[in-house]
Symmetry: C3
């Protein structure tokens, strides 16, 4: 594809001679016919050495490269360039005869169902959606339009997924929440009769699990992105535009606002409120509500400023014990 065509397609100006672009790559690895990008000015020195045929960059960097696609947000516009060259996973079209589809299911036009998928009674699959092999769509589940369910994703009964969602391999939506009533003779299972509701434009990473509610619904808002191996307990209510990184765990009934970011391996206790725009650092253990906009880190969670000082001081604690011991000696001497 010609650089000029890409520029036109994205509504960007380009500087330099036109060129046939064969792909996208990093500044280090790009070939002479590939397109690269400079998002962080810190790496501007790499422009001198790159072989890239063209670079997506801000206007002030355009003269440092052979050809530029000029952008106010180079990282975003590079993402759009990558999308041009990206190939979707899988090559089948239509409904495989090796899939099991219950006769009461409603399958829109232009749906792809791979071999060995299972679509249960009264399930509804929206137009353009692709269901890879080994997926299980339980009875009365609803999936919107233009979704992708990668291999072996599982939606238990009555799960709802909006439009334009990506559900990665091995995801489990709507398994039973972990709910038991204590009795004198051990615990009694509380049947989990609620559901899971996923908004539009949500992405859920490989092997992540989101449990069905005990009553009502566990929910994830529009445009929220969840990484691999995350756990959302029953009745969690998560807002829109959140970013939840790998291996995070959120306990039951916690409410997460909009635009919340949680870094890897963070854990959130149950029945909490996490305010809009809050940020939770990696490995942080949250046991209390977080107000909107606040950043917490550490175990137990502290405001980030305190945590940073804590981090600096932690390795000095052994020395602090020595200093206190020394002080005690000196006071003893002084008292004498």
């Amino acid at each position: 594809m010609l650089l000029s065509t890409i520029a036109q397609h994205l509504g960007l100006e380009f500087a330099g001679e036109d060129l046939e672009i064969t792909g996208v790559n990093t500044l280090e690895a790009a070939l002479e016919t590939e397109l690269s990008f400079l998002a962080n000015p810190k790496y501007a020195s790499k422009l001198a050495e790159t072989k890239a045929g063209a670079v997506v960059c801000t206007a002030d960097q355009a003269e440092n490269v052979q050809r530029a696609l000029i952008s106010e947000n180079p990282y975003f516009d590079f993402a759009r360039c990558v999308a041009i060259f990206a190939k979707p996973q899988g090559e089948m079209k239509g409904i495989s005869e090796l899939a099991f589809i219950d006769p009461t299911a409603t399958i829109a036009d232009d749906v792809t169902v791979y071999p060995h998928a299972f679509i249960g009674p009264r399930a509804t699959i929206g137009s353009g959606t692709v269901i890879f092999p080994g997926c299980y769509i339980g009875e009365d589940s609803t999936i919107g339009a233009d979704c992708i369910l990668y291999p072996n994703a599982v939606l238990m009964a009555e799960t709802t997924v909006g439009d334009d969602c990506i559900i990665h391999a091995g995801v489990v939506l709507g398994g039973d929440g972990f709910g038991f009533a204590p009795t004198e003779h051990g615990v009694q299972k509380i049947p989990q009769i609620g559901t899971v509701t996923i908004g539009n434009d949500v992405e859920i990473g490989a092997n992540t699990t989101i449990d069905r509610a005990v009553l009502g619904s566990t929910s994830v808002g529009d445009a929220t992105k969840i990484d691999n191996l995350v756990m959302l307990g029953h009745n969690v209510e998560m807002g829109s535009n959140c970013l939840i990184v790998s291996q995070v765990g959120i306990s039951g009934s916690t409410k997460i606002g909009n635009g919340v970011v949680m870094a890897g391996q963070a854990g959130i206790a149950g029945h909490l409120n996490i305010g809009d725009g809050a940020t939770v650092g990696p490995k942080t253990g949250v046991g209390k509500d977080i107000p909107a906009g606040v950043t917490m880190a550490g175990m137990p969670a502290m405001e980030k400023g305190i945590f940073m000082r804590h981090t600096t001081l932690s390795p000095k604690i052994p020395d602090l014990f020595k200093r206190v011991k020394q002080l005690e000696k000196e006071i003893e001497a002084l008292k004498k």
Copy 2:
């Protein structure tokens, strides 16, 4: 179903006029024909506002509601009410022709096997058990009566599961333990020739993995409940009536007593003994044995009382450094 019928079914008294009950719900969301519950007196003020047609509660709360199902353990009895209205997942019956069942397998009466399940040589499946799509039951495995194996659950060869167990989607039982012998030229895999043995009435959450033993058996006792994404290493021996919350990891050969509770994301080192009734807090890192009945928390694990003080004091440590510095100055001044 009439309230009177529910009361009779559960052996409870009811107060107020009879009513056709259509479902169960929270006090906030219940409709006028739904049944709700009050388990924690802290929420008693909600009784004034609920629309619920009837409430499971203790005798002293009965006069505050329109209709009451009187219970000494309202949470437990509400769980039993939910069970009345709960619908099992899946609607198939019998053995699907799209499943693969080895001719040497023994399948009891009244077993359901969904399409695309695989049951290997000499496997045994007990009466009333349901095997969802994509499950793999390896050779010489034994599953008891009235179990449910949700989609894509995997039991590698020679795994044993008792009666009345629930194995959620994506669970892997009997994968190889992580065992290697160091040599001069890198590590050598130690074949894992042991098994996994699961008791009766055990529940195992989605995408949890329990490794087979190197020799002997990794085991989980009766009525133990394990949440999602938990990892049990080879030769772990877990007792009965334990509650293991999501994302816990237990390293090889550790012995867990009966009635042990582990909160989310806790980690237990290998070759330890965790006593009966011990409790491990969230995100706790356990490196030593825990005596029976003791509660540990923190990383590294401490007795809970110390951890709680630690939690309160942690954010004040930066200030403590300042105080010690000030003391050092003052002592220096005094010495002069």
Copy 3:
């Protein structure tokens, strides 16, 4: 199998009368016809009580047992003995008619493909490899010779796996990395068009996920062993001979050297360099580069020596606050 045959097979000497060996076991559990081992001299006292018919041990222990297989590395040689008695999982041979194999795929001789597996366009499967039920091999993926892919393992498109690899049940290789460009109107997905490349003799534990690169390749070197429920982010480059224990998470673009060991639930931030032979303790949170050969532990990570002192002192911190308060009082008194 005769003890003499085993000795000959492994190139070891044996002491004592010959015996028909029926299996391998621990010193405690071994029967009179079973082989056991003593690797750690700490447990030498168990030799007096074992019923084992023969023991793999060092020359100096040989006179304490009825029959000995004499070894300079008993743990390693016992692993080799176990391998003699180990039975591979699964009993099928050849290509099942219930598998889906794209006509453009290249399947070498002596490959086994189980029912309900899916092999996509232009995939290549090397000689002797076994693909269990429910596996998904995406288009243009390449798997070497003598690999095992256990049930429901997923290789998304263009994944490369070397020879002699073991991919356990539920593993997902090549799911999209977690990459989004922030914009004024929420985040924009960055298509992940790179791949995953796994070396030779690699083992990957159940339900582990390794994401495809945004550009280039996420890679794992030869003979590296990865446990269950581990997460490797996009563009991670891991060296050879590493041991990565369960539930570890490694963020995007981090480079891991050769011979690195990471204990359970450790977490590594993105864009870091972890040097050859470094060790990361359990639950450790790594936010900075680690030089070659260094051992880090704790959250935040510290050198192990400091962490150990920290661990000892942590429970004494509440007391330290009291001591400082006392000092402050005494100084105040002295000043007066």
